[in-house]
């Protein structure tokens, strides 16, 4: 497989995305809102009762839960870009000429994957950085130390979030093979955030301890296994003959 071919395809997609403001907004808006909203909420709550709104002991439990929101975003944010990248090409009928070029199915799939991976990971990590800085500013007075960065946040942001984005992209490849409308693809694609929301709720209900590093690593391991399974299905779906004769 030649990465240069995949990069050419991804670069072309980036060029198209930058011309579509709705795609840019859909990637940036939610991570940015969350990044500013959560620190603002904590600041507001901390200020209650003469600065004792949230006990210092509760903050180390609360803050990792906020970090987990970025995992939910990882299941959601790539949907717009991935569905446009694949269903959009299907609607514009631009896949056939591309398939007639000397590129392999894997190179095209990887190119599409890179195009759908880089903007969301950039937006989510960028948003998370703002979140962590602001949260440290807000909570330092109460905690007496900077809560972020820490290992658990690193596992969520640098291991689980990329795995979740990859899963979302693969899921969208599979969905794209079966629908021919970008909006329908997005609606089905976004369902992938539900398992991540479920993990978050399970954490809130104390069914899973999300602040324990080993638990996070187990979840990351499960994500990796699911990624590999979905990769197998996506790879089987993204074949020239399938695309030209069976994709609806």
């Amino acid at each position: 497989m030649r990465l240069s071919k995949s990069w050419i395809i991804a670069s072309k997609d980036f060029k198209i995305f930058f011309k579509k403001k709705n795609i840019i907004y859909s990637i940036l808006v939610v991570p940015l809102i969350i990044s500013f909203l959560f620190p603002a909420l904590i600041e507001f709550e901390l200020g209650k009762n003469g600065g004792n709104g949230i006990p210092a002991a509760e903050l180390p439990i609360l803050l990792p839960a906020f970090t987990f929101f970025y995992l939910i975003l990882a299941g959601m944010v790539p949907t717009t870009i991935a569905s446009y990248s694949l269903v959009g090409e299907k609607v514009e009928k631009s896949l056939e000429p591309l398939l007639a070029t000397p590129t392999t199915d894997s190179e095209i799939l990887l190119g599409k994957g890179i195009a759908a991976f880089i903007p969301p990971i950039g937006a989510i990590l960028g948003g998370a950085t703002i979140f962590m800085i602001l949260m440290d500013v807000v909570t330092h007075g109460t905690l007496g130390y900077y809560f972020f960065p820490n290992w658990n946040a690193a596992i969520v942001l640098f291991l689980m979030v990329p795995l979740a984005i990859i899963m979302s992209v693969e899921w969208n490849v599979i969905v794209s093979a079966r629908v021919s409308d970008v909006r329908v693809a997005q609606q089905i694609g976004i369902l992938l955030m539900l398992p991540f929301a479920g993990i978050y709720v399970a954490g809130e209900l104390d069914l899973i301890q999300l602040g324990i590093t080993s638990n996070l690593l187990i979840i990351a391991g499960i994500l990796l296994v699911v990624d590999l399974l979905l990769l197998y299905v996506a790879r089987a779906t993204f074949r020239r003959e399938e695309i030209l004769t069976k994709w609806k």
Partner: protein, 307 residues
């Protein structure tokens, strides 16, 4: 020989899309593929371009074997395809559409610039190079798609219905461009419904309806189906004339008043003896007209027979 197909067959489940196609296309030839909707024209092109697999038979493009994994990329490197749906990136400019494909075909920046300028100028789109392809008319899009297929100077160009849905002026521009490419000795495989287009552009034509019905030059196809007819108008058709003509063992002689219609294979050779016979029988000829069957006659007859 640039394209060589032997018993090429494609089945989708129980449906046979293409059956036992055997033909070849020489270098520099414009080869037309005529057939009704669902005849298997697009399926054939897709097989030859290594986009879909063949069920059986063999096909070669240049020195490479269609269907052999190791050769698929090599084949796609030396062909250019204009599919029936142009499939441009509407949000990219004309220049960026071509530049992307130039990069995919590993052309250097200098080569890309040169070819993009050359083809956009040839097709009258150079002034629109920085305009998004989505704003183009159908004709302009079709021309841009042809330029895209040529960006890497392919050995063989596959055109799938390049003038369908185009207005007459755009169709003519596209046809003229294909004729320009023909002058440059580019090998072109042209799928079309348009008989007039096929007749004007193609060196040879294959008529397809799942199976190959006929193949040959446009002139040969015209005469192969119905031959020609000599229509002779006389002052008066007498029994003596009819008796004399019947002795010539003519294929099909019909009379309508004072007009005789006779099937002939080669009018230049047969008409003199027919006229001589008429004169000897005392006939006075007013006019002689040779009617030839058209490519349309040949096409319709073959397609109807296949049904």
């Amino acid at each position: 020989m640039v394209i060589d197909a032997e018993n090429l067959t494609k089945k989708f489940g129980n449906l046979t899309a293409v059956e036992d196609l055997t033909f070849h296309v020489d270098g520099g030839e414009v080869f037309g593929f005529l057939g009704p909707n669902g005849a298997g024209k697009t399926t054939t092109v897709r097989m030859l371009c290594c986009l879909i697999s063949k069920t059986s038979g063999t096909a070669r493009i240049a020195d490479y074997e269609v269907g052999k994994d190791a050769d698929s990329l090599k084949i796609r490197k030396i062909i250019g395809l204009v599919p029936d749906n142009v499939g441009l990136y509407d949000d990219l400019t004309a220049y960026d559409n071509l530049d992307f494909y130039g990069k995919i075909y590993d052309r250097t920046e200098a080569q890309r610039k040169e070819n993009i300028e050359r083809f956009l100028k040839m097709l009258g789109l150079w002034e629109k190079r920085d305009v998004a392809a989505g704003t183009f008319s159908k004709g302009m899009k079709q021309k841009l798609a042809i330029a895209r297929a040529l960006i890497h100077d392919p050995e063989v160009l596959f055109l799938d219905e390049p003038t369908v849905n185009l207005d007459p002026e755009s169709s003519k521009t596209v046809r003229d461009f294909i004729l320009e490419l023909k002058k440059e000795k580019k090998t072109i495989f042209l799928n079309t419904h348009n008989l007039d287009e096929a007749q004007r552009i193609c060196d040879r034509i294959a008529i397809l309806n799942t199976k190959l019905m006929a193949i040959g030059t446009p002139e040969a196809l015209e005469t192969s189906v119905q031959g020609r007819k000599s229509v002779i108008r006389l002052v008066e058709v007498t029994d003596a004339i009819l008796n004399a003509l019947q002795k010539l063992s003519l294929k099909n002689l019909t009379r309508d008043g004072n007009t005789l219609t006779i099937d002939v294979v080669d009018p230049d050779k047969e008409n003199p003896s027919i006229l001589d016979t008429i004169f000897r029988a005392g006939g006075h000829v007013q006019s002689v007209t040779v009617l030839g069957s058209t490519l349309e006659d040949a096409y319709l007859k073959l397609v109807r027979e296949a049904k």
